[in-house]
Amino acid sequence: MSDRLRILIVDDDRNMTHTLADILALKGHETAEAASGPQAMEQARARTFDLVLSDIRMPGMNGVELHRELCRVQPGVPLVLMTAYASEELTRQGLEEGVIAAVDKPLNLQRLLDFLGRLAESRTITVVDDDPAFCQTLGDILERRGFRVVTITDPYADVEHIVDQAQIILLDIKLNHIGGEDVLRRIRARYPDLPVLLVTGYRQEMATAIQRALELGAYVCLYKPLDIPELLRTLAQVRLGELRSAIEKG
């Protein structure tokens, strides 16, 4: 999968969406334009986007309301608000609800493009599970949601190989021969900050191991069968801080 992102641009000013879409298209991204919140919702229902760039103040539905609606259709979709001059209250509300950032118009395009690069990278998720079927299905779902997925079924795989380009790791705690716990420890030793999400089908049996893993710094533990919207929200949560710092740095 390339760095090509699917980006929805929402602004009541056609010239804004148009110029921005042209620039992003030139940079190799796939863009869609919407002149209002409802129009954007229509598009979002039809296809998945990796990023939404939305004006904050629009007639009918403002950017924060749009984000709220979008999350219902596509949980965890990254949204960046564009503001010419918004009330701080509205911006704060958006950030609390999980908007990645509110950037001032006129956009610093170079920073935006840099951010898009980081966003593309952060899509990479490595799923480590000895059950190939689980890996297969989860991978399909996540890829549909815009993630790049690497699946690893070999519990003896080298840590370097596991991590590779991964931004997030989904790790089954109960692997065939060795415990996922050991894999986690190995990852932690090399990458202390890498977010690791634990997955297990044995809530009771593995309770103590889960406890130890959380103490080792695992982000959270999810239970099979996975609740996909919850997983997506969790992933969005994990990415949020990272993306926010990315957009800060530009």
Binding site: D13, T19, I23, L26, K27, A84, P106
Partner: protein, 607 residues
């Protein structure tokens, strides 16, 4: 031959009248300066003596002469005595009628000598004349004189009463008793009469002598009591003067005019000058040392010599310890023991002067305060007007800014796109695209300032370290090449309590300004220190500096010295600093550099 021979009687009369004349003469000689009217008395007595002499010598001299002059001369002498007495007691009156009477008696007498000679008639005429004059004398001395002097005059008056009585008796007796024409053949009666006259004459002289003596004595007595009173008055006045001299709060000095030594000083002087009285009087130079300005003393002495007095001259008085007092000098030339002296009165007006100065000072202070208050009031009013204008400006800026930002954003995008799609465009096109890009950025900066200014500033305060702030600011607003940056922010510095985002904006603005002040490069220093309960973060440059006339308006909105920019940057900074409980101060020296210092409250535990 009678026992009382007329010639013997006359002889003794001559002798006794001569003695009487001598007595009156000596009385006159003693008292003529005090009582020149005694001359009349003497004249009267001398004439009487001559008359008695003429009568006694009537046998030797031609009868006519002695008879003609004898009797009228006695009357003349009596009249002169009367005139003298009147004058002696200050009762002089015109005497025409008495002299006419005297003339009448003389004419009658002459008639009785030459035309119808009769000794008896002449005696009657004489007795009448004597009665008339003696009665007048008695009247004068017993009634006309002042009652308080009648004690002195009574005796003389009684003598004249006796004279009058004798004359009256003779007057009647002469009419009854027949007489011969020869005086020397007179009988006992006439001889007795002459004898009685002689006695009375002696008595008169004695009484007059007594009278003069008594009057002298009583005059002496009154003189003495007068003098006593005068002495008493003098003593009292001296005592009063003495009291006034010493009790006066003013310094009083008496100096000898010839050499300036002090003759006397009062207690006021010793109190004022600090010199003891003995010291002041024994030293010859004290009086000179009192004048701080010798020229002033010379002028004062010249004025005293010329005018005799000086009133209320201001001069500096030097005390014994050398302190200078503001004094008023008044002086007067006086004579003391026959020598010219100067009476000087010195009044200390130092306190009065100080009070006057204090009053002037107070008035000036009041004036200054009023001016200051007026100025403050004016400033407050200006501020109010400005705030109102700024509020309107803020609303307008917010609206306009928002509307401008969207088109600006699109222009940005468009330029960016064109640059992307025209990588091989001609030089000119690239140049023009850059111009559009830069100008749009400038426009956007103005809009950003406007919006910052219009935005209600509410600070989201938290503890923030100076070092973190400085790092964040320099990350966000990096200094251009050519500008050396140094940061001095101790790690031990306690954190300030402020909105980090806003403070980053404020310091960023200061850093950007500092860099713009150094187009040729220079040194940018950010230094944080603790100042009591505050933290100060100074942003100093080595740039062109700010003209002194612009310093006051530096933080005023819409004040800008740049060709571009609407002058809201520092105004926004000041507002943000204020919203965080801080302030910004600016110092600048043209061609040396400027320092903007942001003061922030330190974080207090519990906030």
């Amino acid at each position: 031959m009678n026992l009382l021979d007329m010639r013997t009687v006359l002889l003794s009369y001559i002798i006794s009248s001569a003695i009487c004349a001598l007595v009156i003469g000596s009385l006159w000689a003693q008292n003529r300066r005090r009582s020149p009217e005694l001359g009349f008395w003497l004249a009267g007595f001398v004439i009487q003596f001559l008359a008695v002499l003429l009568i006694a010598l009537s046998r030797v001299l031609p009868g006519v002469v002695s008879i003609l002059y004898g009797t009228p001369l006695i009357l003349l002498g009596t009249l002169l005595l009367y005139v003298g007495l009147e004058r002696y007691w200050g009762k002089a009156r015109p005497q025409h009628y008495n002299f006419i009477l005297l003339g009448g008696f003389t004419l009658v007498h002459a008639y009785l000598v030459f035309v119808q000679p009769s000794l008896q008639a002449r005696n009657t005429n004489f007795s009448l004349g004597l009665l008339v004059f003696c009665a007048q004398c008695a009247w004068l001395l017993l009634r006309r004189v002042e009652p308080e002097t009648r004690e002195d005059t009574r005796r003389v008056g009684l003598v004249f009463i006796l004279f009058s009585l004798v004359s009256l008796v003779r007057l009647f007796a002469d009419m009854v008793v027949p007489q011969g024409n020869d005086l020397f053949q007179s009988g006992l009666y006439d001889t007795l009469a002459v004898l009685i006259y002689q006695m009375l004459y002696i008595g008169l002289t004695f009484a007059l002598f007594l009278m003069v003596t008594r009057r002298l004595f009583s005059a002496l007595e009154s003189d003495i009591s007068e003098r006593k009173r005068a002495e008493e008055a003098l003593r009292k006045s001296e005592e009063m003067f003495n009291k006034a001299f010493h009790a006066s709060p003013n310094a009083i000095l008496i100096t000898r005019a010839s050499d300036g030594t002090l003759a006397d000083v009062n207690e006021g002087f010793t109190a004022l000058s600090g010199y003891a009285r003995d010291e002041a009087l024994s030293s010859s130079s004290v009086a000179q040392r009192l004048w701080a300005d010798p020229a002033g003393r010379e002028r004062c002495l010249a004025e005293l010599r010329a005018q005799g007095r000086v009133r209320n001259w201001e001069f500096a008085f030097r005390t014994r310890e050398g302190a200078l007092l503001d004094c008023l000098y008044s002086g007067e030339m006086i004579t003391l023991g026959g020598e010219p002296h100067i009476l000087s009165i010195v009044r200390d007006i130092t306190e009065r002067k100080q009070a006057e100065e204090a009053k002037v000072e107070y008035a000036a202070r009041l004036e200054r305060e009023v001016q200051e208050r007026t100025r403050q009031l004016g400033e407050a009013q200006d501020r109010l007007v400005r705030q109102e204008r700024l509020a309107v400006l803020g609303q307008l800026a917010g609206g306009v800014g928002h509307e401008l930002r969207n088109p600006l954003a699109i222009i940005f995008n468009a330029v960016y796109y064109l640059k992307l799609v025209l990588p091989d465009a001609g030089e000119k096109i690239v140049e023009y695209l850059t111009i559009i890009d830069n100008e749009t950025r400038t426009a956007e900066k103005i809009v950003a300032d406007l919006l910052d200014f219009a935005r209600p500033t509410s600070a989201d305060r938290e503890p923030v370290a100076a070092a973190d702030l400085a790092r964040r600011v320099l990350e966000r607003y990096p200094a251009p090449t050519g500008v050396t940056v140094s940061v001095q922010a101790g790690a031990d510095l306690p954190p300030a309590y402020a909105d980090p985002r806003q403070m980053t904006q404020v310091l960023g603005n200061l850093v950007v300004n500092a860099c713009q002040a150094m187009p040729q490069g220079g040194r940018l220093t950010i230094s944080a220190t603790r100042r009591g309960k505050e933290m100060s973060i100074a942003v100093a440059d080595t740039g062109v500096g700010i003209a002194p006339e612009n310093m006051a308006r530096l933080f005023d909105p819409l004040f800008s010295t740049r060709a571009r920019g609407i002058g809201l940057g520092l105004a926004v900074c000041a507002r943000l600093a204020e919203a965080n409980g801080g302030r910004i101060e600016a110092h600048s020296e043209p061609e040396v550099g400027s320092t903007f210092t942001l003061y922030l409250p330190l974080h207090q535990a519990g906030e």
